[in-house]
């Protein structure tokens, strides 16, 4: 399959076939990660800019690692040091990148649509590393990879996404692709964090975690920002935990060897109990590894030639 997309801005631009293609490409990438010497010459001479307008060590490090293993040169524009903090507009930053002949830009931004904005101005490819409440496609892809790895596929699988769906780009992007791949997705959370509009995604909306657990193949807890209590969206962390906190006892209600996921960073004891996070059912650490593999696959497809025939 020839890779046709200049950018990866959200999952809705991808077909199920294209998603599967990325996941397939990530399989040999993951094998490379398991080797003692992790280095491929594939992208030697290519340059990638990482622009993180919103701090995220985890996502930035994952992209950085992926790019390094593929042999690309990396330029980090961290907001604190660059002209960004001096009020340079995103437009001027885009023009600067254009002038430097960068091959690929990874952007994370607090404003929804910032990656689309950049993509309109750049001939280089753009990967959305998370924008506002809009999209986080690489997180979704690594979640698909993890689900496929453990459940064998997506058709008819029951997947619960739990918590602060309202503010979650992870939930949105995940649901978009999971539906395309044939899974059944349920969003669960309190009404203040789960607006009925989300039904447009074709997902089930529920306020009752315990009712939805039976039969679930995968449960994904979302991070609850602790300031949601101050904004009046949840009365207390205590009550949130009582209603939506994942625990070992609770997860038994699925009646299945359900996998437990979390995009990180976790609030242990809030949305997920520590012992569950560290249990055998938890795939949270694998998600991190898979994140590097999937990002390698994506970068490779976008600027490395575009086939799935990775060889060393």
């Amino acid at each position: 399959m020839q890779w046709m997309h200049k950018d990866l801005l959200d999952i809705d631009n991808l077909t199920a076939q294209e998603i599967e293609h990325i996941l397939q490409t990530a399989v040999p990438m993951k094998e490379v990660l398991a080797r003692p010497i992790k280095k491929l010459p594939t992208l030697r001479g290519k340059s990638i800019a990482l622009m993180f307008y919103e701090s995220s060590t985890r996502t930035r490090t994952s992209f950085e690692t992926a790019a390094k293993i593929l042999g690309a040169d990396i330029t980090n524009f961290s907001v604190a040091q660059s002209s960004v903090s001096k009020g340079e507009s995103l437009l001027d930053t885009a023009k600067t990148l254009q002038a430097m002949n960068i091959d690929l830009v990874v952007i994370r931004h607090t404003s929804s649509g910032a990656p689309e904005f950049l993509a309109e101005w750049l001939t280089a490819g753009v990967i959305n590393g998370g924008d506002g409440q809009h999209a986080h496609p690489t997180q979704a892809l690594l979640d698909y990879f993890t689900i496929k790895d453990h459940l064998g596929g997506f058709k008819g699988k029951k997947i619960l996404i739990i918590g602060d769906v309202l503010h979650s780009r992870v939930a949105r992007s995940n649901a978009l692709g999971l539906k395309k791949l044939g899974a059944e997705v349920t969003f669960i959370g309190p009404p203040t964090l789960l607006s009925p509009e989300m039904k447009y995604l074709g997902v089930k909306i529920s306020y009752d975690l315990d009712k939805e657990l039976p039969g679930a193949d995968a449960v994904m807890a979302l991070r609850l920002q602790l300031e949601r209590q101050q904004s009046g969206l949840v009365p207390s962390i205590r009550e949130y935990n009582r209603l939506y906190g994942l625990t070992r006892e609770r997860i038994e209600k699925t009646g299945k060897p359900t996998i437990v996921m979390h995009p990180g960073p976790m609030n242990r004891g809030v949305e997920i109990a520590s012992d569950l996070a560290d249990s055998v059912q938890s795939v949270i650490e694998e998600q991190v590894t898979n994140g590097v593999a999937v990002r390698m696959a994506l970068i490779y497809l976008m600027i490395g030639g575009g086939t799935a025939n990775v060889v060393d």
């Binding site: 507009s89 995103l90 437009l91 931004h109 404003s111 929804s112 649509g113 910032a114 689309e116 904005f117 309109e120 924008d131 506002g132 409440q133 809009h134 999209a135 780009r169 949105r172 607006s195 509009e197 989300m198 039904k199 447009y200």
Partner: protein, 438 residues
Amino acid sequence: MLWIKNVRMVDPSQGISAIGDLLVKDGRIAKTGERFSEEDVLAVLGVKKINQVDQVEGQGKYLFPGLIDVHVHLREPGQEDKEDIQSGTRAAVRGGFTSILAMANTKPVVDTRAMVEFVRHQAQRAGKARVYPVAAVTKGFLGQELVEMVDLKDGGAVAFSDDGKGIQSAETMRLSLEYAKLTGCPIISHCEDNNLAGQGVMRKGEASARLGLKGIPASAESVMVARDVLIAGETGGKVHIAHVSTKESVWILRAAKKLGIDVSAEVNPHHLLFTDEDVKLTNASYKVNPPLAGREDQEALLEGLLDGTIDMLATDHAPHTWEEKTRPFAETPFGINALETVLAAVWQELVLKGKMNIEKVVQLWSVNPACRFGLEGGTLRAGTPADLVLFDPAWREIITAESLESKAQNTPFLGKELQGFPIMTWVGGKIVMNRDHN
């Protein structure tokens, strides 16, 4: 001296919609009627030779009383990079507007008589559209102390509004509606509850969920509309609701009018032309406040205009610089640049599609605003100032940054072709715009 011939005159103030001629003498309409002969014209105008009279052939065209727009942001003083009174009034006459109400949210705000007089003075200097200043309701737009309404009215203000911001304190709104009785001028209310609107950037709904943009619920507007009509009812004050955009607001206004409350309201054409489904992440010219709403709201607004619940159309012309609008959506200011495109858009999308006839458009955009705000114009009656628009329904134009008189270009129609434009505009009998001579 002017003789416009053989033109379809539309004047709902006299129930006229017929082909005929119109004569102008000394800046005022001298006579209208069916075809005049040269002798008639010479007699009415009191001249000896016909070459002393400018003649305009109006076949296939419409002649309206000049449109009156009660909601325009001219940005001067303080934000002349977006627009100034000269560019804004040039844009106005190019769009068919002979009178406009200029909002007070300039820098500084128009809250003193000196400021009101400055705005009028600048408008006279520009010599295009008539500009009627709207003064602030509260000093500095702080929502606390009332401005000197009587002195401001004496300086030329025709209404009071903190538009750009909603008055959050219900008590301040009550006091302003009471005190404004001394002036007879309406309070124009920008209905927005800041708590409900929060940091939202578009209408809350499926489209905002899809784009991952923070939503503004419809109630952020409608609860304030309810509050203000109730206070107007209780005080007997005179209120005008700016930019109505939700179906709930229309219900409230319909009920308020049944109760005899002294309320009027406007709709901005962009709320009739677009919905939240049109909002694009990378095109902030669809970002406006109140935000573009849903299909049902759009239908309710049109119904409200047709049944008289809503009294007028108004642009809410809100120019912003290219730099301000060329950013990620959430970081851009609210507002649509409308004066020069809006009549064509209404013609093309509402009149040609049979949703509203041209007589109704003139009623809503000329007759009713003149009546509500006590302005001259809004009629072709003999003896009134000759504020006129000659409209060519076949004229087509592609909207470009270069073609706009406005300094700004934040219109969803940029790069698109529209049909149906004013080709000549007169203010007080003086020609101020002629598309043929551009």
